[in-house]
Amino acid sequence: MTPPTAKSPEERLRDKLEAFPPEFQALVLAYRAAPAPAALAEIVLSMIRFHGGENFTAKFAEKGEQVLLIEDLGFDSLTLVEISFQAEEFVGFVIQVEDFAALATLADLQAFLRGKIFPSAAA
């Protein structure tokens, strides 16, 4: 059996973005063209909102970025793996699954990615 041709990074990115709303797709494409900390933060927030749905809206209104990924939003291990894969495709950084052990909140995730991708901008 002939294996299918591997897709280019651009094709894979387009495939991954298909699941997301057009405004998120635009956000990611803009970030890829000109990476910046503010855009990174918006992408991460949008990803977590996408996976959390209405539950995220309620919890975020209550707790802001201190919302807990597992306890408040109900993310399980498969969801965290999916988020890590998507982060790699969208912002070009690999979150190891074991990293999530120290990333309890959205604020933790934001700070982690900002520190890794924009170390000079990290708070």
Binding site: P4, A6, K7, H51, N55, D76, E82
Partner: protein, 425 residues
């Protein structure tokens, strides 16, 4: 030995080609309003000889991404409930919501230790293809973490069992087009014997190109382009089945538990029987010997004589071989004994939804028993001579069916017959 519990059907849920709730389904059965429509198999590539399917209305699930699906606004599901589902899992979730409300079951009762979940589906060839293609296209063969749980045959059990916090038991059944009838049969055994108080039985399939077109290669699908007559079980002009899907859910439980909750049963599940043909991977034994054995076994298990049966909901899918074998089995068991129950196949309206057929048709029987009607044979014009002596009503009869049997047969020669009675306290 403890006395056996009586087993009641107390909740139904439907996402089917003929309606997405019990009232619409019953109205379609009474009016013989079909759910078969022109279907575009263009995504198969090339020219496809098959032109129709039993389509699901109000849903759009053509994307592999759950976030792109649309479904009726009366349902509200969080991303956590959807992200590891296949399309037919969404149908099953909606049908579950209907059935649990219908049976007046609280979330706490569904999640107690006495409630089990029995499911049947073939999985999702559509999502399996999508995820495997993505995996092979990635340089490191890395696929989606949701790929397995959303596409393999246990997907309904994984997803629904988690969503509803099922703790009594969670089990799948695989016998092709007899699968969800097997699930109902074993649900009866578990409840009657006292091992479970209730079992929620789910059958679901997705009517899309990847699920249906492989049957074209077996010459099993009708190539008739007219939706009104493409599925015509028992008719001499039948040329194959019309694929369909959706979801059907039944809540079956110990009658005492239903009574304690004030849940009015649709019907009593009296018992069941099964057999195997031992003949061919796809075709039934031509004389219907296997199905006749399952029919006799069911009658014996339920203490019934052939003359006690008022209506048989036939498996007949509109294939030349299958319908003939079933007709001969019915003649052998009933006509030879001087009995003449009414016989119809509702697949003339719905098409054939594969592994969910048994659950869907058992639920139709429950509607017929509560509503006092017998579904007719839609699209039947000229019965096959093999049906000589069988009473095949064309129109739906406004008449209580009495004792009802529901037949199912699947690849490999699996035969299941379920017996239902009108509910009497």
């Amino acid at each position: 030995m403890a006395p056996r519990s009586r087993v009641a059907v107390t909740g139904l849920g439907f996402i089917t080609s003929i309606g997405n709730d019990a009232a619409t389904v019953e109205a379609s059965l009474r009016a013989l309003r079909p759910g078969i429509a022109a279907f575009d198999f263009a995504d198969a590539g090339g020219t496809v000889a098959v032109k129709v399917a039993g389509t699901i209305k109000e849903f759009e699930t053509g994307s592999p991404h759950w976030s792109r699906w649309t479904y009726p606004a009366r349902y509200k599901f969080a991303p956590a409930a959807l992200r590891s589902l296949p399309p037919h899992g969404l149908f099953a979730l909606c049908a579950m919501e209907q059935a649990l409300a219908d049976a007046r079951l609280s979330p706490a009762l569904v999640a107690d230790e006495e409630t089990a979940l029995f499911c049947s589906s073939a999985g999702s060839p559509f999502l399996l293809r999508h995820y495997l293609e993505a995996l092979h296209a990635a340089p490191d063969l890395r696929g989606s973490p949701m790929g397995v749980v959303s596409s393999i045959a246990g997907t309904l059990n994984f997803n629904l069992g988690t969503h509803y916090r099922i703790r009594g038991g969670n089990c799948g059944f695989v016998s092709a087009c007899a699968s969800s009838s097997h699930a109902l049969g074993y649900a009866f055994d578990e409840i009657a014997s006292g091992r479970f108080t209730r079992v929620i039985v789910v059958g679901a399939e997705e009517p899309n190109t990847d699920a249906l077109i492989p049957f074209m290669s077996m010459k099993a699908l009708s190539t008739c382009a007219d939706p009104a007559v493409a599925s015509r079980p028992f008719d001499v002009r039948r040329d194959g089945f019309v694929g369909s899907g959706g979801a059907a859910v039944l809540v079956v439980e110990a009658a005492a538990a239903a009574a304690a909750r004030g849940a009015p049963p649709y019907a009593e599940l009296l018992g069941w029987g099964q057999s195997a043909d031992g003949f061919n991977i796809a075709m039934p034994q031509p004389e219907g010997e296997g199905l006749a054995r399952a029919l006799r076994r069911t009658l014996r298990a339920c203490g019934l004589a052939p003359g006690d049966v008022g209506y048989v909901n036939a498996h007949a899918t509109s294939t030349p071989q299958g319908d003939r074998a079933e007709a001969l089995a019915l003649r052998e068991v009933f006509t030879r004994a001087g009995a003449q129950p009414l016989v119809s196949s509702t697949k003339g309206l719905t098409g054939h939804p594969l592994s969910m057929a048994g659950a869907m048709e058992a639920a139709f029987c429950a509607l017929a028993l509560r509503g006092g009607f017998v579904p007719g044979n839609a699209a039947l014009v000229e019965p096959d001579p093999a049906c000589a002596g069988l009473d095949l009503p064309r129109a739906t009869l406004d008449r209580a069916p009495g004792i009802v049997l529901s037949n199912s047969s699947g690849f490999g020669g699996s035969n299941v017959v379920l017996a239902f009675a009108p509910w009497s306290p």
